[in-house]
Subunit: 195 residues, 2 copies
């Protein structure tokens, strides 16, 4: 399929975006991470490779966004309490990690991160940025309610929440404890609350 020349002003086609993201998730489940190349994704999505490269710098960025940012698209939780908001955020993370595409993507992504120091430097600012923004918004509301101090360390808590979910589901791969999000949220909320 021929591609149009890149243009900053031209709006992105949301259908292409959806087709590409869908193709990534399908291929991951069908053939695994290694075989889910940019070329295979483009072919499955019915777009040119440069259409993919226009939006994503490379395979790790594409796969990460397709698999691990679905929760970031949902509205930031606002349940009225810190524990409630953290539970909702965590449940979103749990759902992401339990998706079949995640199991296929995780080891390959980790290997790519490990092998590429430049990619690693972008983890905080690019890959984790949407999650950090959501958690920061939750903390802002919790601080306004007086539940936590305004200096509560967002990065530390984000690492802890994501790390705990990764460890429990992504690594150990145990059958999902339906209470995991709530139990972990309760411990972390109590750990950072000031009242």
């Amino acid at each position: 399929m021929s591609s149009s020349p890149p243009s900053r002003g031209r709006p992105r086609d949301p259908r292409s975006h959806e087709a590409i993201v869908g193709a990534v998730n399908e291929l991951l489940a069908e053939v695994g991470y290694a075989a889910t190349s940019i070329g295979a994704v483009a072919a499955r999505a019915g777009v040119g490779k440069d259409t993919v490269y226009r939006r994503w710098r490379g395979k790790p960025e594409l796969v990460f966004e397709a698999v691990f940012t679905t929760t970031d698209l949902a509205p930031t939780p606002d349940t009225g309490t810190l524990a409630g908001d953290l539970t909702a955020l965590l449940q979103g993370l749990v759902d992401e990690f339990e998706a079949p595409a995640a199991a296929a993507a995780l080891p390959g992504l980790l290997a790519d991160f490990a092998a590429d120091p430049v990619l690693r430097t972008r983890i905080r600012d690019h890959f984790l940025a949407p999650s950090k923004q959501r958690l920061a918004a939750v903390f802002e509301r919790a601080a306004e309610r007086g539940e936590i101090g305004s200096d509560t360390p967002v990065d530390l808590v984000l690492d802890t929440l994501a790390g705990a979910v990764f460890f429990h589901i992504g690594l150990v791969g145990e059958s999902p404890d339906p209470q995991l999000a709530g139990r972990l949220a309760a411990v972390i909320a109590k750990g950072i609350e000031i009242r």
Copy 2:
């Protein structure tokens, strides 16, 4: 080097054990995980391959023990407070993850775990068992002091601590925050304390 026939009654030679563990750590730093085969380890350690297989079921078990159980050999911390004990446990984890061999081993280990469901079922009972015992001992003393309830969830907290350290150091690979162990311990201790 010829090897003696396996015998349950014969005591393990600690020098062989040390030589093998040392060989694993050297090779990981020198040639990476993939090239650190059982054969290469045996040759470097000056033992037969079956000497290695007598002690470890396979490469993941060997590498994990050589790299990620150094802290389990230290005495279980007993500082007098839960936060102090958790800080010491976490600092041990941080030191393990910051070792050069860990950076080399982690992606390969994760890939091997992901590819082998049988290996995954052994994570809780075999790989994480020493760490869990140490944390359980810390919780027992904390419960005796009335700091926490006797039903505090060990697996959940272990996953959270290990996951947080893995995420912060093993994944994002940021320059070590010397306060990480203490800050994380403070949050978790406060999260599970009952007084």
